[in-house]
């Protein structure tokens, strides 16, 4: 079998050797061309994507200093593990994107400084913050409330009507 195949190649190569060489080159060119277009398309779409993401992420108003401090309180205490902002985060607790529209800031600060027991637990309380951190955090949540979210979450309208 091997002998037959080898002899076939030999005959093939002698008869079409010249063309065969060209075809190898064409095929090689084709592979490189494909590789180049893949790289070019990847780079182009990456640059464009980063640009339009950055343009889209402009805020309606600049972040106030106190809200910025509040953001770091939010991150330091890992609030996102249980709560969500913009619907992204943990699933164990309520979404806080528009919490400042539902509750007054005094209530929220008080809740954070003297946290209640969390149902259905009998002893475990909500993690506590000091007064300054709590105020900054509520400030941050007030700022988040001003960011337009295109009508999400859907029950927001009912709350405002009430």
């Amino acid at each position: 079998m091997i002998y037959i195949e080898l002899s076939l190649i030999t005959v093939y190569y002698y008869n079409f050797g010249k063309y065969y060489h060209d075809i190898i080159l064409i095929e090689l060119e084709g592979i490189l061309l494909k590789l180049r277009s893949f790289l070019l398309l990847s780079i182009l779409s990456w640059v464009l994507f980063v640009a339009i993401t950055l343009i889209s992420s402009r805020l309606p108003s600049p972040v106030p200093e106190q809200a910025e401090a509040g953001k770091s309180v939010w991150q330091r205490n890992n609030c996102v593990s249980c709560h969500t902002l913009f619907g992204h985060g943990g699933y164990e607790a309520d979404d806080l994107t528009h919490i400042t529209a539902k509750e007054t800031s005094e209530y929220l600060v008080n809740y954070l400084v003297q946290p209640p027991v969390m149902r259905p637990n009998k002893y475990a309380r909500h993690p506590a913050l000091n007064e300054a951190d709590a105020e900054n955090l509520v400030n941050y949540l007030e700022f988040v409330h001003t960011i337009p979210t295109l009508g999400w979450p859907p029950q927001q309208e009912e709350v405002e009507e009430n």
């Binding site: 190898i24 490189l32 494909k34 990456w46 943990g90 960011i147 029950q155």
Partner: protein, 466 residues
């Protein structure tokens, strides 16, 4: 010579299965895979404890829930990364049939990525973190992981450039995948004061790592696996690989739009995100086609190859059902408006992250760590049982989460009930989730044990002469 052979024997099986030489890079890739599998074993234990804490009130725990979940998510991102690094080195050398540019850099890269990953887990256990979902570790640790990815990219690019005439599609795809892993992590080492930019860049890891970068490395891995083990002809497997890669990059990038819907971005992303998400399904279809071509070959497979295939097929199954079809359903803006931020996202995340990516990385890790040995019949049966347990655990867990999510959608979002009231109704489903998690953990530990056994059996296999 390679091209010569390829042209004249088109349609026949490549003789590449005859290659049995082991490269230094393949030796190094073993430690990556071993670490990845160990972290995966740890992952299921952490996850089960977290699931228990949600159903048993006042469960005492040394690490509070919010940091436990952070460790769970950090593990979910980092163990596939470490496994992928090993897989890319192993399969690049196998595919190109030559050594990588610098094995020394690969060793350094291993110690860097391990040091900083373990740093993330231990600082989180000590309650130090940065509180961004999936990237909870402090930013400086992600700089370290970035450096190790830069080393990987440099090493792989230099490897490809040593012989420019012999760059195969699978090797190029994997290299570009690793470069994208690095590019996408880089902005996440910066602290943004703008909460919208913060959310958006977070999804460059949460979404784009899984749907683009890891998809490129997995496609390269699956292609190389079929070619190198001689299960399918090279021409069949490689035919559409570049097109698939281009679609994965373009579709993946702009498909990120479906995470930008409600975070304060302009409404144009609703259109862009939902339409481009349709494109994202095409490369998955092509991946399935490639896998099918490999399966169709009549060649007798060894038990080792069969076990790898079982893992690979589980990955493909969850990629189609859990990641693509369920994902596509959720990207419709009118549906997403109601399902967003409920347990449905959680169910989908488990199916997409572990189901499609995790199984693929496990397949690669098992294949690499068992190189040079065959499982005993008992070992093979144990492996298959582990795969069945993993799959059924994952499906029970995710279905329970999906049902809980649909109940949340109905009671909380549509009827407008209070969150805490709805939370109490969900308890039975969260208990079923914990049960599914327990089955999953059982399968996880069994598979890790089998892989550990394979690692032990092949430890002294063909030491390369240095």
């Amino acid at each position: 010579m390679k091209l010569f052979k390829r042209f004249s024997f088109r349609g026949k099986i490549d003789k590449s299965s005859a290659r049995k030489q082991q490269f230094i890079a393949q030796k190094i890739s073993r430690r990556y895979c071993f670490s990845a599998v160990s972290l995966f074993a740890l992952q299921s234990v952490v996850a089960s404890l977290g699931a228990l804490e949600l159903v048993i009130p006042d469960l005492p725990s040394p690490i509070p829930f919010e940091y436990g979940r952070a460790i769970h998510l950090a593990l979910a991102v980092l163990w596939p990364l470490i496994g992928t690094m090993g897989m890319v080195y192993f399969f690049t050398t196998a595919e190109l049939n030559r050594e990588i540019y610098s094995p020394r850099l690969a060793r350094w890269q291993y110690w860097l990525v391990m040091f900083f990953s373990l740093g993330v887990f231990s600082t989180l256990a000590l309650r130090i973190g940065n509180g961004r979902e999936y990237l909870e570790g402090i930013p400086i640790l992600y700089v370290g992981i970035c450096i190790s990815l830069i080393l990987a990219s440099y090493n792989l690019v230099r490897t490809l450039l040593t012989d420019k005439r012999n760059i195969t599609p699978a090797a190029a795809t994997m290299t570009v995948g690793v470069i994208f892993l690095m590019l996408l992590l880089l902005p996440n080492t910066i602290t943004f004061s703008n909460p919208i930019t913060d959310e958006a860049t977070k999804f460059w890891v949460v979404h784009l790592w899984e749907e683009m970068a890891f998809e490129l490395t997995s496609a390269g891995f699956i292609a190389t696996y079929f070619i190198v083990s001689g299960l399918a002809p090279r021409t069949e497997v490689e035919k559409w690989l570049y097109l698939e890669a281009v679609l994965a990059v373009v579709g993946g990038l702009y498909g990120t739009g479906h995470h930008y819907y409600w975070i304060g971005f302009p409404a144009v992303w609703l259109v862009l995100g939902s339409l481009v998400s349709l494109v994202e399904v095409i490369p998955v279809g092509m991946l399935v086609r490639m896998t099918y071509k490999g399966l169709k070959s009549t060649k007798i497979r060894s038990n080792r190859e069969k076990l790898t295939l079982w893992l690979l097929l589980s990955s493909v199954f969850h990629h189609i059902i859990g990641a693509s079809l369920l994902g596509l359903f959720l990207t419709v803006p009118w549906i997403n408006l109601y399902t967003h931020g409920t347990y449905i996202t959680s169910g989908h995340a488990h199916l997409a992250l572990f189901g499609s990516l995790g199984f693929a990385v496990l397949a690669g890790c098992y294949y690499i760590l068992s190189q040079g040995s065959q499982p005993t019949l008992k070992g093979y049966k144990g492996g298959v049982l582990a795969v069945i347990l993993l799959n059924s655990g994952l499906i029970i867990m995710s279905s329970a989460l999906l049902v809980a999510g649909f109940m949340e959608t109905y009671f909380w979002r549509i009827l407008g009930m209070d969150f805490m009231q709805v939370r109490f109704i969900l308890k039975p489903y969260l208990s079923i989730r914990a049960l599914g998690g327990a089955i999953f953990t059982l399968g996880d530990l069994l598979l890790s044990w089998r892989i550990f056994k394979a690692w032990q059996a092949t430890r002294s296999y063909r030491q390369p002469k240095i």
